[in-house]
Symmetry: C2
Subunit: 121 residues, 2 copies
C-alpha cells in the first residue's frame, strides 16, 4: 500500500495530476484512511501506469476512461465492440502518420549529414 507521494514517484505523475485523475473518475478504486488520506494498492499503481501508457499514446482522458470502463466490464455490448474496432483503426492510422513523420525525419537527417560530409571535404 502506498501514499499519494509514493504513487507519484512510482508513476512520475504529479500529485496534483493523480488527484485530478481521481476527480475525473479514472480511479474509482482508491480507498481512504479514516483521516481521509488516499491509499494506493499495487493494482491502483498498475492502473495509473496503464493510464500513463495510453496518455503517451495521446489518447484523451475521456478515451482512457472509456477503455478502463471497458476493461472492468466483463460483457461488452455491440456498440462497445464496434467502438473499439473504430478506435483500433484510429490508433492504426495514428501509427501510420507517426511513421510518415519518422521517414520525414530520416530524410532530413540524411540530407543534413550528407551536406555536412560535403562541407568537411
Amino acid at each position: 500500500m502506498y501514499t499519494i507521494k509514493q504513487a507519484s514517484t512510482l508513476t512520475r505523475l504529479s500529485i496534483d495530476t493523480i488527484r485530478y485523475y481521481e476527480k475525473a473518475g479514472l480511479l474509482p478504486t482508491i480507498k481512504r484512511l479514516p483521516n481521509g488520506h488516499r491509499v494506493f494498492s499495487p493494482s491502483d499503481i498498475e492502473r495509473l501506469l496503464l493510464i500513463l501508457c495510453m496518455k503517451k499514446a495521446s489518447l484523451s482522458l475521456e478515451e482512457v476512461k472509456l477503455y478502463l470502463d471497458i476493461a472492468e466490464t466483463s460483457n461488452m455490448t455491440h456498440e462497445m465492440i464496434s467502438g473499439m474496432l473504430q478506435q483500433k483503426e484510429k490508433v492504426k492510422s495514428q501509427i501510420a502518420q507517426l511513421q510518415t513523420v519518422l521517414e520525414f525525419i530520416d530524410e532530413k537527417l540524411a540530407e543534413g549529414t550528407w551536406l555536412k560530409k560535403k562541407a568537411e571535404k
Copy 2:
C-alpha cells in the same frame, strides 16, 4: 493559386484554423493580393497537408514549426541534428505505446467476443 476557402476545402482545415496557423508562424510563405486577401500556392497547400499529418501524429504546433523550419534550412547545425535524433526516439516510443494500446484493444476484443460466443450457446 487558391483562396483561403479553397485551401480550407482542400485540406479540411477550417478557415479560422488556417489563419491561426499563419499567425503562429507556420505559414510564412503565403502571399497577399493588393486587397489583403491571402493567396495559397500549391506548395502552401502541400505545407498545410504536412502540418496536418504531423498534427494527426499528435505533435504540438511548436514541434511542427520546428520541423518546418528545419525542412527549410539547408545546412543543419549539430544541435538540430541531435534534436531530431531525440525527436525520432520520442516518435518511436509513441509508436510503441500505441502498439501496446492496440494489443490492449485486441485483448479486450477477444475477451468480449469470446464471452459473447459463450453466451450465444
